[in-house]
Subunit: 94 residues, 4 copies
DNA sequence: CACTGGAAAATGCCGC
DNA sequence: GCGGCATTTTCCAGTG
């Protein structure tokens, strides 16, 4: 069986620890989210409806991103480097 | 249909925005985790094994927590307020 | 719209019925589990603790399986077909 | 701390083992269900649609049961012991 | 590159 | 009626 040198072991340990720290941060945020929902509920809001609202807003955001992606494709096809170039043009025009 | 006054609407908006910010933070961390795995993989580590290692370490932690939960339940059943009370008793005894 | 021939429809019906029977069996077992908990509770046991005990026992089993999975992965990486091959080698050596 | 006599310990062990056996049976059925879905998929059916079909049929069944519950309530209110009494009457009539 | 298996997230349910 | 938990659904990396 292959031996693992100390350096490699330390690298691995480092990766594992970084991951565990990130997972922990993520867990904390998940907890924060739950607390915000709890607070909203205590204030009298219906969390189920709130979740639906969030979902719809996310879908809208997604739609916007997809629209931008299409725009980006068109820009590329038309030889315009990026959307920001259009912004600049528009600002100049204004 | 009931009308919603401006104040309530603002409260709701505030909750929604806080939640969206938290969701975004969480998404960033998820992305970070993926990148660490990618880096580890590029360094030559087997991510599958790494995930299993993380899982086992998490299970150890989880098991410890479950055991503590049982202890807590017993303490409650026996009229001892908390585990720390036991610690105190033991310290006195020592 | 595509038409569905009778044979296909019967096949589908057969699958659906098999699934519904299995779901029903599963529901019966879930009910049995509830009843055992109820009986234990009536006998004076704390179901919460029982659930925790079951969880820990399950985790032990799971941990064992995870560890075996890692071993299996190493074996594979080292060109050893299976754990039983190791057993054989060890038996010869003994 | 209270001591637990052997008899109680055996009772507990018995409950735990019964539960573990039931959990195992349940897991087997869950596995069977997955296999039926896999088979249906291999036959060319869309499992997602099948799941929707099952859900709708379940809702229908639920509706039927609720209707029966209402009927049962009426029967009770009218001094008829059970639905089966109605069945008998109908069978006689036929 | 479609598929499968497993992890993460969302939903629904049950007990308190 | 609520929190907590189990189940379900969804997503994604890995694989043939």
């Amino acid at each position: 069986m292959e031996t693992i040198d100390a350096s490699t072991a330390n690298q691995l340990r480092s990766f594992i620890e970084r991951l565990e720290r990130l997972e922990e941060d993520k867990a904390i945020i998940s907890q924060d989210i739950k607390e915000v929902f709890a607070e909203a509920k205590a204030t009298g809001f219906d969390t189920k409806i709130m979740k639906t609202v969030l979902k719809i807003r996310k879908m809208d955001e997604q739609k916007r991103l997809e629209a931008e992606a299409i725009l980006e494709t068109y820009c590329h096809a038309l030889g315009i480097d990026s959307v920001s170039d259009i912004s600049k043009s528009l600002q100049k025009a204004a």
